[in-house]
Structure formats: C-alpha cells, structure tokens
Symmetry: none
Subunit: 126 residues, 2 copies
DNA sequence: TTGACATATTCCTATATAGGAATATATAGT
DNA sequence: ACTATATATTCCTATATAGGAATATGTCAA
C-alpha cells in the first residue's frame, strides 16, 4: 500500500513543508494566491494545488474578492494536531517548570510593584 | 517530485496513522515490539518498519533487554510539532479568551490585594 | 551446536504524490 | 466582445512509500 492521501487528514496535509509555510503565512491574516506565490517563491499552479489540499482538509477557507481569491487559515483545523501533541505534554518536564517559573516570576514582579505603589502613595500622595 | 521522505522530519513520520498509534501507546511507557504487534493488530515486520522510521526521526529510542527490544517515546521529538501548532494558539478564540480572562481575573485580584494591603498598613502599621 | 524465540531486513507491487508545462475558467475593465 | 489578470485544472513523470511474503540477524536455553 502507498502512503495515506495528503487529503486524508490534517496530519498528512501538514506533512508537506510548503503547506506548513502557507499556513504560517496565513496565520498573519487573509492573503491572495498571488501574495502566497511571492512569499513562497514557487509557481502559481503549485500554490493553488497546495491550497486545494489544505481546503479539502479544512485547514483553510477561501472567499472571492474581485479578481482575487483570499485564503485564510482555519485555526480550528489545527487544533486536533495540537491536542494530539498534548498527549506528550506531561513528559515535558522542563516546559512545565518553565511555565511555572514564569508565572512565579510575574507574581514576584507584581509583589514588588505593590510595595513600590504603597511607598509612593505614602510619600507623594497625589 | 514525490512526497518528502517519511524520515525527513517528525511531521512526515507522524502523518502515518499507525505510527501515531505506536507513539500513543509508547506514551504510557516502554514496550517491546511484540507488545506493539498485539496492540496494533498488524504484522511484526510492519511494526518494525514503522519503528525504524520513528527511530530515524528521533521520535523513539530503543534498548535491548534480553531477547526483546524495548522502545520508548522520545517526547522531545514531538515538541517541534507542538511548537508549530502553537503558531495558531492566539487564533483559538475560546482558549485565548479563557487565558486572557484568567490573567485579568488574577490582575483584579492583585489590585484588590494591593488596596487592602495599603489600607491595612495605614491603620495597623505593623 | 541446535532449536526456539524476537526482531530486522530485503524484495515486490500498487498507489499517491509534487512539481513542470500547458491549458481552462473566471472576473474586471474598456 | 475583447483583453489582461487571477486562479484552477489537467497531463506528465520520477519518486517514495506501506504492506505482504520470505528471509536474515540476534539472543537465550539446553
């Protein structure tokens, strides 16, 4: 048997590097096919084909605007991939630590601010 | 040109459903090839081939234990995929809202604490 | 060493690509 | 209607599969 179709699910669609590039670009907003051609530096038919795959899998949506067709990312389509990778989240010890550390650092910062505010209000009392 | 090799990166390796199943199973701990054969219900050579792909891409590690070879997931290999999906995190409205709401609620709580602390310090001046 | 078990590898084939080239379709402007 | 522009589709080909079948490799045990 050959590989599963690129249109069989998001995982297969996103396996192609160009399609990831497209999605990365579309993450910043709606773009025309021509925009993508310029951005990716590949020929227009290739871009259209990739967009076709992404559209069939529900990773992008398209709408006409004059002569152009504007594509936008459908972030909901990416979520299943995100959820899947989360299966391993509990094994990322450092990341957990880092997130917690950042939260605690922020809390400390807030404490410092609080102290400073109190002092200021007691001296200059605007 | 054909599709990128399954061993070219984690995205391509994980595009195959069987390989995802393997990783899901290995997320619960080290397993032998025979375990995987039972679990997946596919023939041993297929499992070995899938494991070979996963190993080359760095998604699993193997070690011998007697006659058996034990495979374990390498969660670090999955992180790049997770990071990539995070590009769209800010577009997941509910999650974004939830995160922002929690941050703002926390900020309000901090404000309340600050006010209370200031009042306390002006009355009981410890 | 021989045999039994566990895993990997090789050979085979049908299948689905990705990109190039050429062409079709659709829309706007004149 | 005609032309220019924007995008999609078709045809082509080299390539890499996934799984089946058969076989090789490696390890223990007696």
């Amino acid at each position: 048997m050959a590989r599963a179709a690129t249109t069989s699910d998001g995982f297969n669609a996103v396996a192609e590097p160009r399609r990831r590039e497209i999605l990365e670009f579309l993450a910043s907003g709606e773009r025309s096919v021509a925009d993508l051609v310029v951005r990716l530096g590949i020929r227009q038919p290739s871009v259209s084909k990739h967009l076709g795959v992404l559209r069939r899998v529900g990773l992008v949506r398209a709408r006409r605007h004059g002569r152009h067709i504007l594509y936008e990312a459908n972030p909901e389509g990416i979520r299943p991939l995100h959820e899947w990778t989360n299966i391993f989240a509990r094994l990322w010890a450092h990341q957990l630590l880092r997130v917690r550390e950042r939260a605690e650092e922020k809390a400390r910062q807030v404490e410092r601010d609080k102290l400073r505010d109190c002092k200021n209000s007691s001296t200059e009392e605007a």
